[in-house]
């Protein structure tokens, strides 16, 4: 314990030092406020922490809020109190601020302010507006990532991209609209609301003359998109990004991941209302765009790490991929079977399926087929538009 850092001269006492520690955690993506600092102090005294091991035990339950932070806490604790690994602050933060999205890094926030002149008027718009400017924001993003690599066979101009986004919005809304209708039906048919009836019957001396129905409030269907951005999908990537962004714009709870050889959470970037920042984030993710595919491994990674939180019985999982995979197909089938047990619906959109003589001969695609609720073509704007009807039926 000889390596414990000395207090800096400016620190007035333990309280000061502790609030520095909380600030240290905050810069590493922990969401802690002044309230937590006070609790941390109270915890230290409640635990009568006089040595560092006890202090570590006492601070952990206060500072940590989920399993991921729990795993990172020790390294951050050591870095702050024991001067370990201080030279490499890149170890601990990983991509936490990126994933959270709601709490941008200070630099990013400043960047956003600087761009404010151009970004603010549209950014402050309501949901519909967001989806519109979403289309263009993604355009800037994809121009950086794809234009430089290969020719675009389809959807080259902004109007088409905007159209793809609008179609996606309609699809997302089709799911939501259906939800509304269902609620009305339930209001007609579900059980009696005894509480209200009792109230009403008082006026009639206890005669329940009026039957009041109880409505069931349905929770919204959620969307999860998994978009393949590997080399074989290159020519479609831009339009599909527009499409996915449209889906996200219409549904607050929707989430999206990109994958090629690994899986990347693209929700915050695709949702970002600041166009320049969104473009920036996507281009950061884009290293690896246009490379090989590890479809099975990426989906397995998704099921293992994110499915528990992102997917439930009321989730529609949309996979956009051509089904060309470098990994053996058996793994993919098992993964999809697991996902199927968790998800409400799995829909696979395959651009190749629109081709006249297409048959799902790719090993991965053939293995995946039995686990899908729908396998639909998506190679032209028309086929995307036709999806609306399909989705409404799901």
């Amino acid at each position: 314990m000889s390596r414990v850092t000395r207090f800096p001269a400016r620190a007035a006492g333990p309280a000061d030092r502790l609030s520095d520690f909380v600030a240290h955690l905050r810069t590493h993506g922990f969401r802690l406020g002044p309230g937590e600092t006070a609790t941390a102090l109270a915890a230290l005294s409640a635990a009568s922490a006089v040595d560092i091991a006890t202090a570590r035990l006492a601070l952990r339950p206060v500072c940590v809020a989920d399993a991921e932070q729990n795993a990172r806490f020790d390294a951050l604790f050591d870095a702050f109190w024991l001067n370990r690994d201080r030279a490499r602050p890149g170890v601990a933060p990983r991509k936490a601020p990126e994933r959270r999205g709601r709490a941008p890094l200070p630099e990013r926030a400043m960047e956003g302010e600087a761009d404010g002149a151009s970004g603010a008027p549209t950014g402050a718009d309501d949901g519909d507006g967001a989806a519109q400017d979403g289309g263009e924001g993604r355009l800037a993003a994809s121009r950086r990532t794809i234009d430089t690599r290969s020719d675009l066979r389809a959807y080259a101009d902004p109007e088409d991209l905007a159209r793809a986004a609008r179609i996606a919005e309609r699809i997302a809304k089709a799911i939501r609209d259906r939800r509304t209708r269902r609620r009305r039906a339930a209001r007609r048919g579900a059980g009696l609301d005894l509480r209200r009836m009792m109230r009403a019957s008082l006026a009639r001396g206890g005669e329940p003359a009026e039957l009041i129905r109880r409505r069931r409030i349905d929770r919204p269907m959620r969307l999860v998109c998994l978009l393949d951005v590997s080399g074989s999908m290159d020519v479609y990537a831009r339009a599909f990004l527009a499409f996915v962004r449209g889906l996200l714009g219409a549904d607050e709870a929707a989430r999206a991941w990109l994958f090629h050889t690994r899986l990347i959470d693209a929700t915050p970037a695709l949702r970002d209302r600041d166009r320049l920042r969104a473009a920036d984030r996507l281009s950061l993710m884009a290293e690896g765009f246009g490379g090989g595919t590890r479809l099975g491994a990426c989906l397995a990674d998704f099921v293992a790490r994110h499915a528990a939180k992102a997917v439930n019985r009321r989730t529609v999982v949309v996979i956009l991929s051509d089904g060309c995979d470098a990994d053996p197909a058996a793994g993919l089938a098992a993964t999809l079977a697991r996902l199927k047990r968790r998800a409400g619906r799995i829909v696979w959109l395959n651009p190749l399926k629109g081709w006249a003589d297409y048959a799902p001969t790719a090993a991965a695609m053939a293995a995946a087929l039995p686990h899908l609720d729908a396998f639909l073509p998506a190679n032209t704007l028309e086929s995307l538009a036709a999806l609306e009807a399909e989705f409404a039926r799901l």
């Binding site: 006890t54 206060v62 940590v64 009792m198 939180k309 697991r338």
Partner: protein
Amino acid sequence: MRWTGTWTALRDRLDAAGYVASDTLAMALHLALSLGRPLLLEGAAGVGKTELAKVLAGLLDTRLIRLQCYEGLDASAAIYEWNYQRQLLAIRAGEGADADAEERIFSEKYLLTRPLLEAIRQPEPPVLLIDEIDRADEAFEAYLLEVLSDFQITIPELGTVAATARPHVILTANGARDLSDALRRRCLYAYVDYPDRRTELAILARRGPALSSALAGQIVGFVQDLRREDLEKVPGVAEMLDFAAALAGLGVNDLTDDPATLHATMVTLLKTEADQAQVTREVVERLAGRAA
């Protein structure tokens, strides 16, 4: 009963009550008790999250009130409900002279308390276990936040019921849904992991059947290795205890003795068809050989 000891004392008391807690967990529980904050326990199924609440209630010699969450849980199942049948009867019986009928039928007598209301009306602080909070909907979680911060419940017909004693609240979750940041902030947090080998041996000695130390070592080694296999449903501590009980019941003295019997006991550890298909007899033998 309030907790006034130190965290090491709490760990030892838990230990004596048959719950082997890690230092992290004991400290988290100690802080939750002494700071009066709810404790959120997260971790895989079968690592003893619910059990901790039960043991704590026994240790503090107080009531355990349990609210099992599920999708669609609403106020009438979690907080209170009026006894409608009784109200109906009362209205009919009191016909004619029912000027104060409304007051009468919306009184304590016709109130059915559900776990949350019950917990704040106890004379002594009980342990309130809110089990699998991630199964309940977001809307319920928001309501729960309100109850956990004020410890009072408003019944429109009756008024506000303030807590007579602040319950010790323990929430458990295993990742069916992501919890809101607000709820996480309100609670102290402890992640309960699968126990390490030493801890699991201690648990087996405390909770399991009487076994030779060699067999106990084999069992724990076997289960710990099995957890490293790629399974859908990783066996928890409860499964390990079932496994040990099954082996004791079958009179097995060494895991490598009888592969057929050992494979048959996998029903206590593997709870899905895919897992059972994956862990074949050969795999079982390999694991048993390594554990021996």
